[in-house]
Amino acid sequence: MKKFGVVIFPGSNCDADCYHALRDVVGVPTEYIWHEERDLSGYDGIVLPGGFTYGDYLRTGAVARFAPVMEAVAGFAEKGGLVIGICNGFQILLEAGLLPGAMLRNAHQRFSCKYVNLRVETPDTVFTRMARRGAVWRMPIAHGEGRYYADPQALAELEAGEQIVFRYCDESGSITEEANPNGSVGNIAGICNKKRNVLGMMPHPERCCEQMLGSTDGRFVFEGMVSGLVGGVFAED
């Protein structure tokens, strides 16, 4: 049976939501991993949850990337293990250099906390394998620093490698300025690495896995990861 781990850093606050979504809703064995852990053997998927690690001191994710567990996460990702960074987890992946680019304060001086529409730009990742290209998923965001930035060259590389996984869009799937909640370049809401086993996304799939929460689209992300693992295509062991 495959096993997932949810990392807890000082200041993580979406860890319990991720744990619940994986263990209770999706139904996959899941454990918490303390940030001082250095050994991730036995895990198949790792979640870096949202929150305000280390108080967001210096820059979001800047200090968390030096936590002992992050070296293990880098090695785990290198070997093909699945890693998903959500919100602050995305910011940590950027600071750690596991994904390209950086995060800035929202362009319109607001903490954005609302449901948004996301266009699935590529179904060619475990995280989006349940979608067809161009599908629109509804998920909540909750962040003050979610303005994704990459310089033109890095952006061109992301485009060329089809590494842009989600873009903010309107209900019909059109990428518009009005649908961009934070000023991210190219409406980017989520990207993956070249090997396509590491995903960073600002929206919170763990907060929308049950109908009573307003949407169940988040389940697709986790179920995609689990079914990808069961297929054995992505784990390199």
């Binding site: 210096l58 950086a102 929202n106 362009a107 319109h108 303005r147």
Partner: protein
């Protein structure tokens, strides 16, 4: 020896905080304010050594942690290195 480090967003990056403060200053009546850029100021005290050594050390600190070279520029000056060149 003390390093006084100033970190700012690159000119090519929109400074949302600075833009907001600029608007507030204009609302206050300072209508001549054309631009505000906000940044961080950090003081780091390190053991005395040769200026070149300390300079290299602080530069590395900035590159590895204190600044994010993708979005930020940094500069610093050293204080207290007199006579220790």
């Amino acid at each position: 020896m003390k390093a006084r480090i100033v970190i700012t967003l690159k000119q090519t990056v929109l400074d949302a905080q600075g833009a907001t403060v600029q608007k507030a200053l204009c609302n206050l009546g300072f209508s001549d304010v054309n631009e505000v850029r906000m940044g961080k100021y950090i003081e780091v005290v390190v053991a005395d050594g040769s200026e070149a050594e300390v300079r290299q050390q602080v530069d590395e600190m900035c590159k590895k942690l204190l600044a994010n070279p993708i979005i930020e520029d940094y500069r610093f000056e050293l204080e207290g290195q007199e006579g220790k060149k």
